[in-house]
């Protein structure tokens, strides 16, 4: 699904990723943990293709294709989804218009027929219901006036509507209370299938109690320094990152 080899990237001329390698297979859930400034968010932005995150070395292959060659919207159409740590507010654009435009743009790019209004509505309604986002909020401007938890739920609704092959979720658990965390976790778990994969980027082990990953990687100073199974989260929680690096 995703093969990252020796990836180097910099922001404003400052090297952040320094030879990161990672392979995620279909059907797997991977978690990347690491201290502040390790490069976790940079990795997610580099994968999504955000301007200002410059790749200086290495390669990323996604479902057999060169990912770094593609523009952000092409990566989305290829089946990559980035759940943002801080979802953006877009005044004047309703959630439904945003999502329908996005879904149909992706479908068109893949050579599929656009969905009609009613077909789309059915999908959007089901996704909102599943993630506990009142349908009224789907009619409101994207994320405007949403609480932190509602924004994250909205990201999950988008993920469910867009059905990406790989979801990269950047600190999706931050700012969530326990109830919201449970709903969001259920949303992530519902995407688990032999064909889909998820890359969770998180600070805390808390999320990983609900979404149990197949593999956990520790990212420090731009590299994966340690990999292990689901139990690694608890060891990190008890001993900290520094002990592991030593």
């Amino acid at each position: 699904m995703l093969i990252i080899e020796n990836l180097c990237a910099e922001v404003d001329g400052k090297p952040i990723l320094k030879g990161l390698s990672l392979t995620v297979n279909a059907g797997e859930v991977h978690a990347i943990m690491g201290p502040n400034g390790a490069g976790k968010s940079t990795l997610s932005y580099v994968l999504a293709g955000r301007a200002g995150y410059e790749v200086t070395g290495g390669s990323v292959r996604f479902r057999g294709e060169d990912l770094l060659d593609k523009a952000p919207h092409e990566r989305a159409a290829a089946g990559l989804f980035l759940g943002l740590q801080y979802p953006v507010e877009i005044p004047g654009v309703s959630n439904l218009l945003f999502l329908r435009t996005a879904l149909n743009a992706q479908r068109t790019a893949r050579g599929e027929a656009e969905l009609s209004g009613s077909e789309f509505m059915k999908i959007a309604k089901a996704a909102a219901e599943r993630l506990g986002l009142p349908y009224d909020m789907m009619k409101r401007a994207v994320n405007q006036g949403f609480s932190g938890g509602e924004k994250k739920r909205n990201e999950m609704v988008q993920m469910h509507v867009l059905q990406p092959w790989l979801a990269v979720l950047d600190e999706t658990d931050s700012g969530l209370d326990i109830d919201a965390l449970r709903v969001v976790s259920d949303g992530i778990n519902a995407m688990r299938s032999p064909d889909h994969a998820t890359l969770l980027i998180t600070h805390y082990q808390r999320l990983l109690d609900y979404v149990v990953p197949d593999h956990i990687h520790v990212l420090m100073d731009g590299r994966i320094v340690h990999s292990g199974g689901a139990d690694l989260a608890h060891r990190l929680e008890a001993e900290g990152y520094a002990a592991l690096a030593a």
Partner: protein
């Protein structure tokens, strides 16, 4: 005949004076809304529209007057509104200015509150691409008799290109002491974070920019019914495409 304006005149300082000279003189169009009436009009310009229009609008006591303007699609365009509001009259303006290539599009308003308790609300949104210039010069004048005036003007512009220009000149002249006059002006670019967000969901950059630009303009169309908004949308989209 009124003399050709010059750059020294405040209301003409951002004009395309060569174009003005070609269309001078301009006849003032008087519009009278009698007391207790309501009047609404929509102006959509294109290449065939008169380059300069000057409307002198008198809104009688207790009357309401609403103008919706979509100005774009022409090399030089200037709409001047001289509005006089009598006791308790209400004036609403929603205006979209769209400039592309080397176009100059101007809106010049003077709203005079000559009686007590009149209200006015102006929302102007401008988009400039290419090397276009969009300008809003808005004056609110409250006479000594204009107590309890409630006036507001809001101007926001987005520049789609480094070579584009937006000018804002809000001006208040108040001779009454019990009034509310609000004004605001902001000029910027499309939000990069929002652009990235849209593209990260699969929307191509050109479509993402169009979506955000259209959303930016929506304040100016607030309160119009759905059918009217839809009709205006077609005109706006065509003009935005030229500016993108």
């Amino acid at each position: 005949m009124i003399a050709l304006p010059t750059r020294k005149q405040e209301a003409w300082r951002y004009s395309d004076l060569a174009a003005v000279a070609r269309h001078w003189p301009v006849a003032v169009e008087p519009i009278v809304v009698p007391a207790g009436n309501s009047h609404a009009d929509i102006i959509i310009t294109d290449a065939a529209s008169p380059a300069i229009r000057h409307l002198a609008i008198s809104v009688g006591a207790g009357s309401t007057c609403r103008y919706t303007i979509i100005d774009g699609g022409r090399d030089y365009g200037r709409i001047a509104l001289d509005v006089t509001l009598h006791d308790g009259a209400d004036f609403q303006l929603g205006c979209v200015l769209i400039g592309s290539a080397a176009q100059t599009i101007e809106l010049v308003t003077t709203v005079r509150h000559v009686g007590p308790g009149a209200t006015s609300r102006q929302i102007v949104r401008a988009v400039a691409g290419g090397s276009a210039t969009t300008s809003y010069l808005g004056q609110v004048a409250v006479a000594r008799e204009g107590q309890k005036t409630d006036a507001s003007q809001s101007f926001k512009a987005i520049l789609l290109n480094r070579g584009a220009t937006a000018n804002a000149k809000p001006e208040l002249e108040i001779f009454a002491d019990d009034v509310k006059c609000a004004h605001g002006a902001a000029i910027g670019e499309l939000d990069r974070n929002a652009l990235f967000y849209l593209t990260s969901r699969g929307i191509a950059p050109a479509q993402a920019r169009a979506l955000l630009t259209r959303a930016f303009l929506s304040d100016a169309l607030d309160g119009l019914d759905e059918a009217t908004t839809e009709a205006l949308d077609a005109a706006i989209s065509a003009r935005l495409e030229a500016a993108a």
